[in-house]
Amino acid sequence: MLDAAPSRSFDPKDYLRLQYMPHFMCPGCGHGIALHALLAAVHDCGIAKDDLAVVCGIGCSGRVGGYIDANTFHTTHGRPLAFATGLKLARPDLTVVVVTGDGDCLAIGGNHLIHAARRNLDLTCLMLNNEVYGMTGGQASPTTAATRFTSTTQSGAIEPTFDACALAAAAGASFVGREVTRQAPALKTLIARALRHPGFSFVEVMSDCTEIYGRKNDLGEAPEMILSQKADMRPDSHRDATDQPFRPHALPTGVFVERDLPEYGARLRAHAAAIRKEAGR
């Protein structure tokens, strides 16, 4: 199924619940671009809509799944990975994608993330990182950069941030990557690779919150924000490039981890079968 070549050209409208469009997100919100890239990747991988399950948490990112014309599951705050784990174990035939946000995934659901990564169940986790809790009024999240203003950091954030990719990699995820929404075609390719990867794949999407975060921090309108992504990133392929010293804080993008580790679902089924056999059942 995954390797079937796409039979015709991609039209996102084939994958959207048209009755709910246009979606609720603010003008210029990067989550819409991420959704587009996800749909294109699903199309590229030739996954039928009935074979796709999208599990979302709470927040702006949590609303993304509802627009996808597939099996979608809007769950509790921080717990989409837990719901997805149950779903994938019960229905290993489904391609299960988790769409979550920086607050959902790293704060409320931080524990679920590290243990999902550790188990290496075949899930694809898309973390849309816009550095803020947008839906609840713009509170600081674990990825809010230092000096940024939010409704809970009125004089500028001072906490260090999480590097979500490093966290997922350290916890044992077998595929870890990051891309910015500005590079939507590259993002699509990255998501497609994550979808094809057997095991826990973690993809961090650098997204823009234009209305809440961008406005409060004077980051410009949507085009300025998305253009600045390009100046802020450093593709993995340029890791040793000579211009690196001039952009010391530039964000690495690309695939950081891709390793062959035993997949949890297959292990669990084999384990259960062995025990049943031993018990003579």
Partner: protein, 299 residues
């Protein structure tokens, strides 16, 4: 020092046994220096003094590379002056034309690959299928009129043999028709300078170049470089659905051709004819409001 053949004398019969000035030109990555090395090595084996000088510094993939090879009983200057090259070996068509004036008038031999590598600055318009400012001269206009020699699709020949990178060796094989030393000796020279794994293909390419014959005149046109590379018939269109557009202006500000504009709260297509179908707007619209149709080019 014995002087090199000079224009004032009657044309000497090929091959010249007293010495030769050979200019090898092309663009980065084609193997200009490998050809010059082969010629230099061959000349050395034949007991000539050889001087070779080159410019390749800026040429990492795509920039100009040229190399002067001079050999005679004794060689003083390492460079070849305008109008004093006995042979011009060009791995790229526009480079062949650029260096044409270095050939000895009326007597120089011209050996060129007809493949075009269109440099980015020759692309005046980003629109797919637009004519470039690439040289318009065809091989038929050059060979036999301004210079003796041949123009062949060496890249095509090398591709047919299995590796387009061996095009330079095809031209070396062609050159060996004039620099007529035993084929076995040429093979030894090639073996000495190419990586071990590519000896086989390079020998084959050399033999193919040496055995090349000019196509019949009516086929000649097919070998001529096309003035504009054939492009698929494109059907480009861009449309914005005002019902879904939220007026974020991303598409307006990021379209490289400035095709789109704001009209009140929503974006509209202002100059549809300028659209190249690059899909930047379609990919970056967060609201799925832009649809680009670009048939003929993969999405």
């Amino acid at each position: 020092m014995r002087p090199l053949p000079n224009d004032d004398f009657a044309p000497a019969p090929w091959p010249v046994t007293t010495g030769m000035n050979i200019l090898v030109v092309g663009v980065g990555g084609q193997g200009v220096l490998m050809i010059s090395k082969a010629i230099a090595l061959m000349a050395q084996r034949r007991g000539f003094a050889v001087k070779q000088s080159e410019v390749h510094g800026m040429a990492k993939r795509g920039g100009i590379v040229f190399s002067h090879v001079r050999f005679a009983e004794e060689v003083w200057s390492p460079t070849i002056a305008k109008g004093e090259a006995d042979m011009l070996v060009a791995l790229e068509w526009a480079e062949a034309l650029r260096w044409l004036d270095h050939l000895r008038p009326g007597r120089g031999v011209f050996i060129a690959d007809t493949r075009q590598i269109v440099p980015p600055f020759a692309c005046r318009s980003r629109k797919a299928g637009a004519a470039s400012a690439y040289a318009r001269e065809t091989p038929a206009e050059i060979v036999g009129r301004h210079a003796d020699g041949c123009a062949l699709d060496a890249t095509g020949i090398a591709t047919a043999l299995g590796d387009a990178r061996a095009a330079n060796t095809v031209l070396l094989g062609r050159l060996s028709v004039w620099l007529d030393y035993p084929v076995a000796e040429w093979h030894e020279v090639i073996d000495a300078i190419v990586p071990k794994g590519t000896r086989e293909i390079n020998r084959k390419a050399f033999d193919a170049g040496r055995a090349w014959t000019a196509p019949a005149p009516d086929e000649d046109d097919a070998a001529a470089p096309a003035v504009a590379a054939p492009m698929p018939d494109l059907h480009i269109s861009v449309a914005i659905d005002p019902a879904w557009c939220k007026g974020c202006t991303i598409c307006v500000k990021l379209c490289p051709e400035r095709c789109l504009a704001m009209e009140g709260p929503v974006a509209v297509v202002a100059t549809p004819a300028a659209c190249t179908g690059c899909r930047v707007c379609e990919w970056l619209c967060p609201d799925f409001a832009v649809t680009v149709k670009n048939e003929g080019v993969p999405a």
